[in-house]
Each structure stands twice: as C-alpha cells, then as structure tokens.
Symmetry: C2
Subunit: 241 residues, 2 copies
DNA sequence: CGGCTGGTTGATTGGTTTCAACAAGCGTGG
DNA sequence: CCACGCTTGTTGAAACCAATCAACCAGCCG
C-alpha cells in the first residue's frame, strides 16, 4: 500500500495505466528511515536518484547568517525531493526531516527508462514539477500580500488538498505534525503570533488543531478567508478513490 | 548582437562551443515587439515555443480577488519565459511587460533538436531552469525573513548580478526601469514605504536610483546589509566578456 | 523527579500601512 | 504654446499589525 503513494500522487496529474503503476512499483528501490530533524541529503548519495517520501513530512529551508530561518517548501508523503538539485555544484539550502521519515529511491537509470517507456509517466512527472513550482509561487504571494490570518488559513487549505490527493484526509481532518515554531518558519512570522492567529481561527469556528491533527470545520469559509483557489495546484485528474 | 544575449546568459551555466552558439542563433525565429503593460501571453501562440526576452523587463504576477497584486518573478533581457507553463490547462498567473519588450521565439521542434544535438546546450537550459527556481526560493526567504531595507538591498544585488551576467552593467550601474509601485509589488510592501526605505539606502551612501538607472556605490556594504550570497544564482561559469 | 519541548499569555515596542495631500515630469490636445 | 491630466515620487500623522521580551504552564521522557 505505502509503495503506491507515489502512483496515487502522480494520478493527480495524468491517468496512469496498470502497466505504468507496475513499472513504477518496480522502479522503487529499498526504503530507508530518516530520524526527525536529521538532514535528508547525504553527500554519498546517487546524485541522479529520485527520492520519494513514503511517510512523514520534510522541508526545504534556508538559514540566514544571523540565525533567521525560512522554510521554503514542505514535502508530504508521495512528494518527490527533486533530484535535479544535486546537479547544482553547491547546495543553496537544506532538506530536513520534520518528522521521522520513510524515503524510497528510484535509481537514476530506472527513472530514465521509466520516462522513456511511458509517455504518461513522463507527462505526470513533468506536471508534478510544474505543480511544485506553482506552489512555490503561491507561497511568494502569501508572504507578500496575505495577512497573518489569511496566510495560515491558506496554508491549511493547501496542505489539506495536497494530503487529500494522496488519500491521507479523513472526513475534514488530516495529520498535521508541524509545531507552531515550524509554522512560524513557513509563514515568516514568530511562533507567538502564530499562536494568537491560530486562536482566532479556532474562535471563528473554522478549524481545530490538536494532537498533531488538523480538522477543518468550514472548508468554504476557510478558503474564502484565505483567497484560496486550488487552480494553482494543477491537480487535474481526480485521485483514484 | 542582441540575438546573442541568450548565448551570453546560457554561458553563465555551461561552456558553449562556437557551434552551439551558431545553432542557438539559427534556432531563434523572428522577434516581435510587446507594448509596456501588455500581456505577454496570447492564446494563439505555439504552446511549445520558448520565448526569450531580448530587450526590456517583464514580470510574472498574481492578482488576488480584492485587487492586491504580487509580482512573483522578474524576467530580464536574456531570460526565458518558461514555456512549460503553457502545458498547464489553466494559467494561474499573468506574464506582463513592465517596459516595451522585444521578444524572440524558438519554435518547439527547433528547441527539441537543439537539446538533442548539443549536450552542453541541454545542460545549460536545465541549469537555467534550476537557477530560476532557486531565485524563486530566495524571494520566499526575502519576503519571509528579511526586513524592509534588507529586502530592497537584496533585490538590488540580485538584479545587478543578473544583469551583469548578460553584460548590461556598466561600472557599478545598471538600467532599472521599475517604478516604486512595481518594487512594492515585488517586495510585498506599499510604495510609500518603498520610498522611505529607498531614501534610507541613499542616505547610507549605498545606492543611487535616478532616471531609471541604479548605481551601487558600495557593493560589499549592500551585500552585507542584505545577507546577499550569490551562490543561489548558480552562475558557475564566468560570462564571456 | 527534573529537564526539555511545545504551547499560552501579557505588556511594550516598533516597523508598515493607511490616508491624505502635494510636487515634479511628461505627453497630448486645444 | 500652454494647459490639463496622468503617472510617479515625496512627505506627514495616525492607526495597526506583528515582533519582542518575559513569564508561566502542560506534557513527556529519561
């Protein structure tokens, strides 16, 4: 089951045949465990391998010289930790585990033959990349033009949709392992202020966040508050049930 | 000369042979003019063509329902308006001309044969894309964690470096056609505040900005203030003078 | 039990927005 | 040619959102 998360995710972008899914499964190598707060990028790794998160949450983050930290991307189960990054001579940011992680790899050659054999897989992978970039753009919009409460609401919407695409939501609620400190580093604020904003969202009856689980009580209300329009995620296909 | 801007830019990413440069020049089709403030994306266009800016500045921007605007990317002479975007079913943002523009196109098939014939061109194009993404990440960092004056200083540094890569700087100064309103939409602030921040940078003796031209008086001072580290641009090759 | 991490609260400070007005530059039409 | 309108830049005062500093509490684990 867990190995199919990637197929599930890619099906948001293109219809995959049974053969596609079989090939995908075969291409996935051994999975490994990464401890929370550990760095995901060990130098010794195959630079052409594609890393896939099977379980847990990771992030891409940048640290300024004086200690300020900004998380620039969140990687959820089913997400790819784009490998192209390794092509760059020097890494300009860190990929770290926010929770304990299960990560699988598709070796470089296996990935190559995958996109050569299947046009729909190639298409899906490309679209996945475009979606990731679009998410990055939308974060820029949030940080630049959305108020504190709108940002938080928007992030909740986005993460809920992304988790829904891989079947990890359950009747309006989803796992949410981020601490308020993590949220602060995602949204460019302090954890103190995240705390107060969160309370406001709660008191408005829009969400609940307890025990590492997020529950959205009023989807449309939250989306309206956040100016959330899921178009940018470019999930065109319905995820298989 | 103008047609070589793209070659110049790509040489920041990979060494290009004379043949590469010749092929590149041949691949470039007719250039067209776009008026300032016009939309760059006309529906009737070849969705597989690669657009290259030969002259002028353009931007990618998102408009929120209530009128707030955020510029999520700036495209300078020599830059590609990534074509993959057109693969997406619905455009989630606008590409607009900030100044009058000269744009050339590489038709889809020509681009395809280009990257097939030359490994260095393929490499350069891929690196260019990675650089664009890294810039997007750095903007996220700026908006999230840099103060107003740091943001402005950082943007100045980035644009100066990017213009230098295509030979458009001249002894510490470069063209700078953005209005304070544009700057506000880039940096997520109001033009009023941009104005005051700008005055502070001026009074610190770091920059001058007059007549659509930016002059940086103290490069290292500006970079230190901004926590600017050009690594993220990934210009590994020196641009051929 | 103590120490740690993560969450909560209050008071104060400060960076930015907002609103409003005005000056300077520029193109256009009367 | 000047007047007019429009865009761009500039300034001031007030209001506001979010950061800062500083406690303190709850839960968890060794």
């Amino acid at each position: 089951m867990t190995a199919n998360l990637l197929a599930l995710k890619l099906q948001s972008f293109a219809r995959l045949s049974d053969v596609d899914q079989l090939w995908l499964k075969e291409a996935l190598g051994q999975s490994r465990q990464v401890a929370a707060h550990a760095d995901l990028v060990d130098q010794g790794q195959d630079p052409h391998a594609v890393n896939v998160i099977l379980d847990g949450w990771a992030c891409r983050s940048r640290l300024l010289a004086d200690g300020r930290r900004q998380i620039v991307a969140l990687m959820l189960p089913g997400d790819l930790c784009d490998p192209h990054i390794f092509l760059l001579d020097r890494m300009d940011h860190t990929i770290g585990a926010l929770t304990p992680l299960t990560v699988a790899q598709i070796p470089g050659p296996a990935f190559q033959s995958l996109v050569e054999r299947s046009a729909s897989l190639a298409y899906a992978f490309r679209r996945e990349g475009l979606s990731a970039i679009a998410i990055q753009r939308e974060w820029t919009v949030s940080l630049g033009r959305r108020s504190g409460i709108e940002r938080l609401a928007h992030l909740f919407c986005e993460l809920y949709w992304r988790l829904a695409a891989v079947g990890l939501t359950d009747g309006g609620s989803c796992p949410f392992p981020l601490t308020q400190n993590d949220l602060a580093d995602v949204l460019g604020q302090t954890s103190v202020h995240i705390n107060r904003t969160l309370q406001e969202l709660r008191s408005m009856g829009l969400v609940a966040l307890r025990g590492r689980r997020l529950t959205i009580h009023d989807q449309t209300g939250l989306a309206e508050l956040a100016y959330f329009d899921p178009v940018y995620l470019h999930f065109t296909q319905k995820a298989g049930q």
